[in-house]
């Protein structure tokens, strides 16, 4: 796990996360935010976004986040599903808690 990057993503979470789209006008979902934090900027917009564009590192968003953050694929899917299933007013806190749990589950070495 890339603890430093994951901590950075958690601590810098924006005041609002959207649902259903990685990055669109008005904000990011948690996966979009994690990708942006990791330096992925040109993400396809305006649809049911699942993919990341990068000449060497791109691919399905779940796989890219899992690879860059050193997380299990299921953990990333869990974050995405939590994001989309949580009401907007509670979403950021729910995501923050989930990331904290991921960090706590794997003690730093």
């Amino acid at each position: 796990m890339n603890r430093e990057l994951l901590t950075q993503a958690r601590d810098g979470l924006p005041p609002r996360l959207n649902a259903g789209i990685l990055m669109g006008d008005g904000g990011f979902c948690v996966l979009g935010w994690m990708l942006l934090t990791a330096g992925f900027h040109p993400i396809t917009l305006y649809s049911n976004t699942l993919g990341v564009v990068h000449p060497e590192l791109g691919g399905p968003a779940v796989d890219v986040v899992a690879r860059v953050y050193g997380l299990d694929r299921d953990a990333v899917i869990g974050l995405g599903e939590l994001n989309d299933a949580t009401p907007v007013g509670e979403r950021v806190e729910a995501v923050r808690r989930q990331i904290t749990e991921l960090l706590d589950a794997e003690p730093s070495r």
Binding site: I21, G24, P42, S47, G51, G59, V62, I77
Partner: protein
């Protein structure tokens, strides 16, 4: 017989089959304007030249034929530039004919004098100034050839005011020889076709992505035949929307991401590897096969392409369908249908929402339920595309033009004017956000003057949602009476359907101003477990 330069332009346009020209009057183009009207060409005079260029592109998107705009010198051309650039980025055939300051007046401080050629060159396939009136027919003919062959795009032809007013003896004017056919590109080699079929046959989850190039090539029938014979699921993008109807058993509309990210072999036909298609970068694929008339498009962005064919989409798809065998895709198609049903159920849940302010998806779904199969729905741009993309099916080509990757906003009314001209008597709806509405709302006057009963639905979330810059509650519906139309404000769910029904039945332009939830979110239809 003596003819003015303007008459020669208009006659050449008529010979090219032009029935409508989108234009804004100006002294530099008067002779062409008047001659076109005398010849029976409909000159749709708009209120801003950008709308003329957008409408010309809209004509191309609606009909498959190049659209024509006629604009005056100087600011007339610079105003049109955004519409020309939009057509350039999207690869839409458009012929822009512009007036210009006199040939004698260069560098004299003449009014509306500008180096227009240098301005348009970066956003056109071909740009020329005509210096001799007797060569006008030749240049107009060339303009149409350039706009429509190879990768289509906008072209520019400039005629100075003294040239269009000059008089020449018709006997001295030589019209060009008409090309017997204008092939857009060549056919692929047989060996490449065989290899493409071999790669598809080895796939577990093959898919076809059809882009605008299929529409411009007139290859809809060939595409349908190929997917039916090979039994391959299909998604359509941009101008290819509706070329195979969304309710065809093998067509999965435009929800390309759900399919592309699960596919293992992809056949991409006439689709730019651009922003709207993940730049074509899908490293999970075993193979990407690409067919494009534009050689620069093959493997663009360093995308690994197993087989690239620079070829005409129509010829290539015909060859593929002649040799295709049915693939074992039943399970894959069944899985995709299941996913589609799940997404549809998620949408329906939001569409039933009685929340106030209204959810924009509810507005779109309600509108979609009132539209006939041959309706044209122009979804303008930006944030609202999240909902319109998820809502409006395409049953016929040229019915759902939307934003190109230039990222224009407000252009949709130009597209709507063109669609209404091209298909009188059909429903034409412009769905637009309140921000974008402000760009060219005055074109509703054009619609009124030409008897085009366009229905405008403003998804009014009270501001620019991209940056959350507020515009506040504005009564855009009150503009409609100024154009002899009806305006309706909708604030509550029970008001929506009657308002939309009334607007669609109106015989004049109508505006339905719907106050929607600024905090509305995209429907939760994505499945992370299906991706990868």
């Amino acid at each position: 017989m003596a003819r003015t330069g303007g008459e020669l332009v208009a006659t050449a346009l008529q010979r090219a089959g032009v029935s409508h020209v989108f234009a804004l009057a100006g002294g530099h183009i008067d002779p062409t304007w008047n001659a076109a009207k005398r010849l029976g060409i409909t000159v749709v005079d708009v209120r801003h030249e950008a709308a003329a260029a957008h409408a010309a592109e809209g004509w191309a998107l609606a009909t498959g034929q190049p659209g024509v705009c006629l604009v005056t010198a100087g600011p007339g051309l610079t105003n049109a530039l955004t519409g020309i650039a939009n057509a350039w980025n999207s690869g839409s055939p458009l012929v822009c004919i512009a007036g210009a300051a006199t040939l004698r007046g260069q560098d004299t401080g003449e009014v509306e004098s500008l180096d227009q050629l240098d301005i348009v060159r970066p956003v056109t396939k071909w740009a020329r100034r005509v210096y001799h009136a007797d060569r006008i027919p030749e240049y107009v003919d060339l303009a149409f050839r350039e706009a429509t062959t190879g990768r289509p795009g906008p072209v520019y032809l400039e005629l100075a005011i003294d040239l269009v007013h000059s008089v020449v003896d018709e006997e001295t004017v030589q019209s060009p020889v008409a090309a017997a056919s204008l092939a857009r590109g060549g056919a692929p080699a047989d060996a490449d076709v065989a290899r493409a079929l071999e790669l598809l046959a080895g796939a577990r989850r093959p898919a076809v992505v059809a882009g605008s190039g299929v529409w411009w090539a007139g290859a809809g029938e060939e595409l349908r035949m190929f997917v039916e014979r090979a039994r391959v699921p299909l998604v359509t993008r941009q101008a290819a929307r509706g070329i195979v109807a969304d309710d065809h058993p093998l067509c999965f509309g435009q929800d390309w991401q759900n399919i592309v990210y699960q596919a293992d072999v992809l056949l991409v036909v006439g689709k730019q590897l651009d922003y709207f298609f993940g730049y074509g970068f899908f490293p999970h694929l075993d193979h990407m096969i690409q067919i494009d008339v534009n050689p620069r498009e093959i493997g663009r962005n360093r995308v690994p392409v197993s087989l690239g064919m620079v070829a005409d989409a129509k010829a290539a798809l015909r060859q593929l369908s002649e040799k295709a065998e049915p693939l074992a895709t039943d399970e894959w198609i069944s899985s995709l249908r299941g996913q589609r049903e799940r997404i549809a159920a998620a949408k329906q849940e939001l569409a039933r929402s009685d929340a106030v302010p209204l959810h924009p998806l509810r507005v779109c779904m309600e509108l979609a339920s009132l539209l006939r199969r041959d309706a044209t729905v122009i979804a303008d741009a930006s944030n609202m595309l999240m909902w319109t993309n998820a809502t409006f099916p395409a049953y016929e080509p040229g019915r759902t033009p939307t934003m190109g990757n230039l990222g224009c906003i407000g252009h949709g009314i130009g597209f709507a004017l063109a669609a209404a001209c091209a298909r009188p008597g059909t429903q034409v709806v412009w769905v637009v956000g309140d921000g974008s509405f402000g760009f060219h709302a005055m074109e509703l006057d054009t619609a009124a003057r030409f008897g085009l009963p366009i229905t405008t639905v403003v998804l009014n979330n009270l501001g620019w949602s991209a940056q959350w810059v507020p515009l506040g509650v504005r009564h855009y519906e009150r503009m409609a009476p100024a154009f002899d139309g009806e305006g309706i404000l909708v604030e509550r769910p029970e008001e929506l359907r009657p308002a939309l029904s009334r607007a669609l039945a109106a015989e004049a332009p109508a505006i339905v101003n719907v106050l929607v939830d600024p905090a509305a979110e995209y429907f939760p239809g994505r499945s992370f477990r299906g991706a990868g």
